[in-house]
Amino acid sequence: MRLTFRLHLLAAAAALLALASCVSPETVQESDSEIMLRRVKAVNRLTLAQMRVTKMATVGDLPLDSARGMRQTVAALADALKIGDRKAAYSYDTYLTAYVDLSEIGKEDLTVNDLVKRVTIRLPEPEVAFAGRDAEIREDHYRVTGLRSDIGPAERAALKEKMNAALRAEVEESEEFRRPLLENARRRGEAFFTELLGDLGYTVTVAWGKKEDAEKKDDVLLSPPPDMIDEWGVDER
């Protein structure tokens, strides 16, 4: 009798456990206590433009006719012997921003003439930075047939890592990404300050670059070229 009761109790507990596991089929643990690293930094940054850059990669067997060298030939032969196909295409977006650091603006960068209501503001040159990438990856194509293995999270993570490294290199090497972003940022920055202070009745002139840099440029233009110094002479008094 007691044994039957215990068996019933066990069955009820198992059923409860099974029910509990069915309540939430998709779960993510809230992991505040498990945060490995958190850095919070105070900044004063005005973002003026954002660029979305798309990177795509395909996964597929190595065709025998395009294999170069021993390794690739062996791999292509091995792929040809496998039963089924394994092809997929993935893409995701990375974001670049152009911003100005407002903490670099000093009193000397602002000139206000209250009589004629004119303001001149000198903004630091905009800078370009990576602003993260989509955590999700888009699966543009997926065809795994026969006895081929599925593409799983670890392989997708490795693929994303490879795509990320290539994208970073492309962005750092090519002006194709930086130039339009910086041009947009300058235009938007000028428009923003003109509109903002225009609403208060001010006429605004926006200049770019640090004042010292601009003065240095003027110095370079005013000073004689190096080969002319002798001709001009040196004042030794």
Partner: protein
């Protein structure tokens, strides 16, 4: 005599085999690696102008522990983002000599970091004996989206948004009073 010839022949064959092995090994080492991944060049999908003031930057590394049915995934994710304010919707009102500024609501945006090694899968498994441990892309994406939503809620809970709002109010006030020379009062929306 015949025995000597056989011995020399065997030694010769062994030497030839070793030499061939060394040549093959060197060729293998210098041959291009078999890569089944082909990367397309990156392309610009969109350029957007904006005016957003960011006053707090966040970088965090968190474990992703998620389950779908009997399948489980454990990974390490690095997130980066900021708390910012859309200054395009900044409202200015003049009250006598004073300028009143209404700061828009804060926006918390977290994304996966672009630093190397920002997403690393540690383990995947299935509790069912013969069940597949592989997660589909849609399943993995759903887990990551939930993780980011939870991390963004955490940013509010920890008070970083309130701190960002205080800093933004000070920054806007400094900028406007510096350019206009007038007293500025900043009111921020929750």
């Amino acid at each position: 005599m015949i025995r000597k010839i056989y011995t020399s022949l065997i030694i010769l064959v062994i030497l030839a085999a070793v030499a061939a092995g060394v040549i093959l090994w060197r060729k293998w080492q210098t041959a291009p690696v078999a890569d089944r991944v082909r990367l397309s060049p990156a392309r610009v999908s969109e350029i957007k102008s904006m005016v957003e003031l960011s006053t707090v930057d966040i970088y965090e590394e968190i474990p992703l522990k998620g389950s779908i049915g009997k399948k489980h995934l454990v990974a390490r994710v690095a997130l980066e983002g900021s708390v910012s304010f859309d200054l395009d919707s900044l409202r200015l009102e003049e009250r006598g000599d004073t300028v009143k500024v209404i700061l828009p609501a804060a926006k918390v945006e977290l994304r996966e970091s672009t630093r190397p090694g920002s997403y690393e899968v540690i383990d995947v498994w299935n509790d069912a004996l013969f069940g597949s441990a592989q997660f589909t892309t849609a399943e993995e994406n759903a887990l990551k989206r939930r993780l980011i939503d939870s991390a963004e809620r955490e940013i509010y809970r920890k008070g970083y948004v309130s701190e960002a709002r205080r800093r933004a109010a000070r920054s806007v006030a400094d900028l406007l009073s510096g350019t206009t020379g007038r007293p500025v009062v900043v009111v921020s929306l929750p």
